[in-house]
């Protein structure tokens, strides 16, 4: 189990040449081998969604994917959302609408919402609620997350 193979992960447009065991999850590889600790791990069984990242345009739970499966694909994490000093509208909306408290689940919610809205900008409110129900937050009661994502969705459609 402990044989490591070399692979290259492309995270936020930057290549990371790493060597990992076949069993290494993408979440662990992003955090520990590539040092991008903004992606958090909440359950490691695909329920909470804290580890959500965008792979080739699709939000995925990085705890349910092996690092080796992500080779050659475009991975986006929370660290890559802002454009320099300018926050992504989703990040700004979470701040404006108090869509976070402890902030642990926030990167997962941001990547989930951005990933879905980029693919489906005209998603209905009901479908958006369905999507947001795939991640867990224990602090906000979701009220302000929903508000923030709806506000950002309006902004992204402009």
């Amino acid at each position: 189990m402990t044989d490591k193979s070399p692979l290259t992960l492309t995270i936020n447009g930057r290549d990371h040449a790493i060597a990992v065991e076949a069993r290494r999850t993408l979440a662990d590889a992003i955090r520990e081998d590539c040092g991008q600790t903004g992606t958090h791990i909440g359950c490691e069984h695909g329920i909470c969604g804290a580890c959500t990242v965008i792979v080739d345009g699709e939000p995925v739970r990085s705890c349910l994917m092996f690092a080796v499966q992500a080779e050659g694909r475009q991975i986006r994490t929370v660290e890559g959302l802002a454009d320099g000093e300018t926050l992504h509208v989703m990040q700004q909306a979470f701040m404006d609408h108090h869509g976070l408290q402890c902030g642990f689940c926030t990167p997962g919610f941001l990547m989930l919402a951005v990933g879905v809205l980029e693919r489906e900008p005209d998603i209905s409110d009901d479908d958006l609620l369905d999507v947001l129900s795939s991640n867990l937050c224990r602090c906000t009661g979701y009220q302000n997350i929903i508000k923030a994502v709806r506000a950002a969705a309006d902004e992204m459609r402009k």
Binding site: G38, Q91, F104, R138, G141, Y142
Partner: protein, 783 residues
């Protein structure tokens, strides 16, 4: 950040009361936060945990060459032995790793140390545990039965504490009652489930011999005190850091044996060592809560006025006692606060904490009050039914409306708005319109229900309140150091340890108003025992009241000194100086001096103050208030499907009074989050043990916190009754949402069940339980 506007009467700029954006957020939304598990270490730990609920450890066999720590290695480490000097409390000790005996599934038996997390996990799988299992006792009532297995020799009959109260004249008043109404309530076991599970990182510094423990905790200073005590080291040789903490909700205020072991290991290895708990460990072996049976009887006069309450509380405290609160935290809270917001002067209660072969119970947001409020509010609805009056009306007849009010248990309630928030909520929900809609729906086979909960939320209580419990460790006060550095920037170091509550923002707002400096130029420093003053951390809806009060005291001292400095520098009378826009100004003139210039002067030109002012600009405030009561009325409207037992919360409305609100956006967020946890408690969340003491809910698919789907839109209405018991006039509000929601939801479910002649007094009211109750009633009817 928006600039504040001048008040209409020309008063100074005010930041308090405004919904400014949080200073915490920029780092957290960009992935730049620092959480414990982000640190790397030379060594990683994996705990081997007991698969048995009860038994004797015969042997622990480690694979060749592996480093596996067991109790045999820890003889010099004291047991965690929390203490209460009251309520017939029996001190029971917990070894850092199980020593000869295991008492619950998930108890740490051995610790594997390896170079990586994966390697430690692989080795842990190979550790051979030989345990002679014995019959466990899982349920608290079973543990009280004659002949039940004894969990600790020190606590015969498994009773770890017993509180009793009976007011003088109780029997006479009880005998005079027109009606006695009774409820047998059951609250099943829950887990606070912060999204970040436990994690710790301990690093030894060879130069100083000190260990730095970074861990996800609500109480960094108390962790330092407790761990130094257990290891027999100087507190100054241990630094504890609570970095960004991913939610706590009470689970992270207790001392974890695992953290003690990490510090011990760092010292032994003279290196760094880390542990990150997985979700399964969190669900089975971090702290649990809420496992209680409460029987409550109310004696009413002929006009439905409550005369007396009699309660029996059986609280399952698990296998050990938690530090620092002890396992009295739930049963004693239940005993002290059972009468809630109602005017009732006669009270009898027996509250017992009962040891079982289950995970240790500790504080969880609301501590017992979600249970006792649900019990008491169900009792009021049952009484309303018995008297054939409206649920609003029975509350109207019984809520406290004269202040200060001294409760049957001696608590002093400061001014609140129990009746006013009830009326406000009832008006906002339009009860009459709902009843019409409910009737119409019922005719079509759709079952709607409405439920009320009125309650008090005791917050911001200082050391006398904790001392009354007889705790060997009596938390309460807070200290804050506010300083202006020579560059004019303000820093406040606080002993509280916020982890999502937005305290950096709200304290900065308080300081901003005193010093006339915008909040974004004020840094709040917390969570590091090397830089923060000793304090008790963040729990019990206390930080804004107590740390906020200490902040105000310290900021006022700094303000007074700034005015003196300005008086000297501007050669003006102190009474003519105003502080605003980052400067001291002489009122009615254009003469001013910036705070930065004054700060530079008092550090570097002290000779100019002719010995009248001390060098530097740093002041300290300590606050230890008696406590203040927030209050609210919650109303839930549910739709219930009798075929499946499924309950959907359609609408949720709150009328709340938490005194002066420092930041309305943050306050609302606290209420929203609390309600979500309360709805989870009411409908979904349950740690299920089987008879052998195994846990059937060890992942988040089986233990279900609510998602966005389960949450109704929440409508908040506010009143602000400034507290006279808090110098900022603010009351706490961290727990109210969680306290009110189970009661409101259960009352609504029972209202919806009225046509079926069924009542359900168990939380969570799962579809299975609702279906079982309907089936039973239908069977009875047809029999």
């Amino acid at each position: 950040m928006n600039a504040p506007t001048k008040g209409s009467h020309g008063e100074a700029l005010k930041w308090v009361g405004r919904a400014i954006r949080r200073l915490e957020d920029p780092a957290l939304v960009t992935g730049q936060g620092h959480f414990t598990a982000d640190l790397s270490a030379a060594h990683w730990v994996r705990f081997v945990r007991s698969p048995n609920a009860a038994g004797k450890i015969d042997s622990i066999k480690a694979p060749d060459g592996a480093m596996v720590i067991t109790a045999a290695d820890l003889k010099a480490v004291k047991k965690i032995t929390p203490m209460l000097h009251k309520f017939n409390y029996k001190a029971v000790g917990q070894s850092i790793l199980a020593d000869g005996v295991v008492r619950f599934v998930g108890e740490a038996v051995a610790a594997v140390v390896a170079a990586s997390e994966e390697e430690a996990e692989d080795i842990a799988d190979l550790v051979e545990l030989n345990i002679s299992a014995s019959a466990p006792v899982v349920d608290a009532r079973d543990a009280l039965a004659d002949g039940a297995p004894q969990i600790h020799a020190e606590a015969p009959g498994n009773v770890i504490l017993k509180g009793e109260v009976k007011t003088a004249g109780f029997d006479e008043v009880w005998a005079s009652a027109a009606k006695i109404v009774r409820i047998d309530a059951r609250s099943h076991r829950q887990n606070a489930t912060p999204m970040e599970a436990r994690a710790a990182h301990a690093a030894y510094d060879r130069a100083s011999g000190r260990v730095t423990l970074t861990c996800t905790t609500q109480m960094p200073h108390l962790m330092r005190t407790a761990i130094a005590d257990l290891l027999g080291i100087a507190e100054s040789d241990l630094r504890v850091i609570a970095p960004d903490v991913g939610g706590g909700f009470g689970q992270k205020m207790s001392l974890c044996a695992e953290y003690v072991l990490l510090v011990w290991l760092a010292r032994k290895l003279k290196s760094s060592v880390a542990w990150t708990e997985d979700r399964r460990e969190n669900l089975i072996a971090s702290f649990h809560a809420r496992d209680q049976y409460v029987t409550l009887e109310g004696a009413f006069d002929k006009d439905a006025k409550l005369l007396a309450l009699r309660a029996d509380v059986v609280s399952n405290v698990g296998a050990y006692s938690c530090f620092p609160t002890t396992s009295g935290v739930e049963p004693l809270m239940a005993m002290a606060e059972m009468p809630g917001p109602y005017d009732v002067q006669q009270y009898q209660c027996l509250a017992r904490g009962v040891l079982t072969n289950t995970c240790t119970m500790a504080a969880y947001r609301g501590v017992s009050r979600p249970i006792i409020t649900f019990t008491l509010e169900r009792l009021m609805d049952k009484a309303a039914k018995a008297f054939k009056i409206d649920p609003v009306d029975i509350r109207r007849r019984n809520l406290i409306d004269k202040f200060p009010y001294t409760s049957a248990t001696g608590l002093i309630y400061d001014e609140a708005t129990y009746k006013a928030t009830l009326e406000m909520a009832a008006h906002a929900i339009d009860l009459a319109a709902f009843r019409a809609r409910q009737k119409e729906a019922c005719a079509k086979g759709r079952y709607l229900g409405i439920g009320l909960a009125t309650f008090s939320e005791r917050t911001g209580y200082g050391s006398p309140a904790f001392a009354a419990r007889g705790m060997a460790i009596t938390p309460g006060w807070e200290t804050v150091h506010v300083s202006v550095d020579p560059s004019g920037y303000v820093e406040a170091r606080i002993g509280s340890s916020p982890h999502g509550q937005g305290l950096r923002t709200t304290l900065a707002q308080i300081i901003a108003d005193e010093l006339g400096i915008p909040p974004d130029l004020i840094k709040i420093v917390h969570g590091d025992t090397d830089t923060a003053p000793y304090g008790w951390g963040t729990f019990a809806s206390r930080s804004l009241v107590i740390s906020g009060g200490a902040t105000l005291i310290a900021a006022r001292k700094v303000r007074a000194k700034l005015i003196k400095i300005a008086g000297h520098m501007l050669e003006a009378a102190e009474s003519d100086i105003v502080l605003e826009d980052g400067a001291a100004k002489v009122a009615g003139t254009d003469r001013s001096v910036t705070v930065a210039a004054m700060a530079r002067e008092i550090y570097t030109q002290t000779h100019r103050f002719k010995g009248e002012l001390e060098p530097g600009l740093s002041e300290s405030g300590t606050y230890d208030p008696p406590g203040t009561f927030s209050n609210a009325c919650h109303i839930a409207i549910v739709q219930l499907d009798p075929e499946t037992g499924f309950v959907k919360v359609e609408r949720y409305l709150v009328a709340e009074d938490a005194g002066r609100i420092i930041n309305p956006m943050i306050a609302d967020g606290q209420v929203h989050g609390g309600i979500a946890q309360g709805i989870g408690n009411a409908l979904l969340e349950e740690i299920v043990y089987d008879d052998a003491g195994g846990i059937l809910t060890a992942n988040l698919a089986d233990y279900m916190p609510p998602t966005a789907h389960e949450m109704p839109p929440i409508e908040l209405h506010h009143m602000e009754t400034p507290s006279t018991q808090s110098i900022t006039k603010a009351k706490g509000l961290g727990e109210g949402g969680t306290i009110g929601a189970p009661a409101a939801v259960l009352n609504a479910i029972n209202d919806a069940l009225t046509p079926f002649n069924v009542e359900i007094d168990t939380i969570p009211a799962t579809p299975q339980r609702i279906r079982a109750a309907i089936r039973e009633a239908t069977a009875k009817q047809s029999a």
